[in-house]
């Protein structure tokens, strides 16, 4: 099952206006957005889609008040979409749409759609660093940071679900859809990579009581840690609430910075995730603050050491 990764997440929200402002300020580009919602795209065309909660065109909601309605998977080709449809039709209702896409739900009721991927191939450099002992990556006279440098989400990276039963979720995605487990945080859940992706994870589960079932967060990849720091700093300065980060996860090695959101879940910037293939042997560690991150920092206002200039006044 050559699933490339998530193409989009579809939400049915209470406040379309708030979500529109939030996702635009986060750095996604609005496409066809009006008072009823629309599409918010990263640079490669992956997206968050927002509709009003009562929009009849939305897939059925979960039986909690979570706002996620559908995870849209991009697949390599139409033959694979059809094969997924045939596989899922063995034990559940599958909708085959005129555009060739296939819709179903997983065993927990999370809405799924499979389509030939809409991802556009990106051709742009990632963050480049210079280090002794290594050829300079940036080259002579190229600067590494400036205040207004672009820091836009490039690609929808991953989605994390709260699920009531880890083993059932794991079995569905590995046995039926061909996902691989890359690593496991014991007592939280597995990191999952679809067969057509190299990223450490595009899906992660956290086990919770059934009343919490839903989307815990989603993340978009940025071009590197500097872009992540800049984007997060701009988001804080625009008035948004940091939840966790900036820091760097251990499993996956991705830099992270999580924020609260009006979509009823956290929204993350991430950067520089490990890539794997089938040779990788999954690791396991008990879930803990120590296991979850290599280091963690917290935003603070810009500050400079030293007193006021001669004859100047202290700020406080």
């Amino acid at each position: 099952m050559n699933i490339v990764g998530p193409d989009a997440l579809v939400f049915g929200v209470d406040d379309v206006g708030a979500c529109t402002k939030y996702l635009t300020d986060y750095g996604l580009g609005p496409v066809g957005v009006d008072a009823n919602g629309g599409r918010f795209e990263a640079l490669d065309g992956t997206a968050i889609v927002v509709r009003r909660r009562d929009d009849p065109s939305l897939p059925a909601p979960l039986d909690t008040n979570n706002m996620l309605r559908q995870t849209v998977y991009g697949v390599a080709d139409q033959a694979t979409v059809n094969a997924i449809g045939d596989e899922l039709a063995r034990d559940r209702q599958v909708k085959r749409l005129p555009d060739g896409a296939v819709e179903a739900a997983d065993d927990d009721g999370f809405g799924l759609r499979f389509q030939v991927t809409v991802r556009r191939k990106l051709d742009m450099p990632g963050e480049r660093i210079n280090a002794p002992g290594s050829q300079p990556q940036r080259g002579i006279n190229q600067i590494g940071v400036w205040q207004e440098m672009p820091a836009k989400p490039r690609m929808l990276s991953h989605v994390v679900y709260f699920v009531p039963d880890l083993s059932a979720g794991e079995a569905f995605y590995t046995n039926r859809l061909g996902f691989k487990i890359t690593d496991r945080l014991v007592n939280a859940g597995p990191f999952l990579r679809p067969a057509g992706a190299r990223d450490h994870h595009t899906l992660f589960f956290i086990q919770t009581p059934p009343y919490m079932k839903g989307c815990e967060h989603f993340a978009f990849h940025l071009g590197g840690p500097t872009e992540l720091m800049l984007a997060g700093t701009r988001f804080v300065k625009a008035g948004y609430q940091s939840f966790w980060g900036p820091g760097r996860h251990k499993f996956g090695s991705n830099w992270f910075w999580y924020f609260n959101s009006p979509l009823g879940c956290h929204v993350e910037y991430d950067a520089d995730m490990d890539v794997h293939d089938d040779e990788w042997e999954p690791r396991a560690a008990p879930n803990s603050a120590e296991a979850a991150q290599a280091f963690l920092f917290e935003y603070r206002e810009k500050w400079i050491p030293g007193g006021p200039p001669p004859g100047g006044k202290a700020e406080h």
Partner: protein
């Protein structure tokens, strides 16, 4: 020590506003004006116990303005009681902050 947060007439009906954190504290508090009454809680979702709830400065209420919402996981709380009625913090309550409205119309944080 009591601290003046704002004047009562600075809060519109149906408005929520955050204050602090004040020296020595990491947690903000927020005040909601509903039906002419004021309700104040510490800005700490009882799901994890200590995480901030708004998604943006002063954004503590749902779109309808009739529930407090935690923008971490969408838990909803009754404005009058702080009781969670939906979501991750189900069965838990917000911690009230003690405020007082003075005869001159000032909202004071007592503790």
């Amino acid at each position: 020590m009591p601290r003046t947060l704002c004047r009562f007439d600075e809060l519109r009906e149906g408005e929520a506003r955050g204050f602090g954190p004040f020296e020595g504290a990491r947690t903000k508090l927020f005040v909601v004006r509903k039906d002419g009454n004021l309700y104040a809680y510490w800005d700490a979702c009882p799901h994890y116990g200590n995480t901030p709830m708004a998604w943006r400065t002063d954004a503590y209420l749902n779109a309808a303005g009739n529930r407090i919402v935690c923008a971490s996981h969408g838990s909803e709380f009754e404005i009058e009681t702080g009781r969670c009625v939906h979501g991750a913090a189900l069965g838990k309550e917000l911690t009230p902050a003690t405020i007082e409205l003075t005869s001159s119309g000032e909202v004071i944080l007592k503790s």
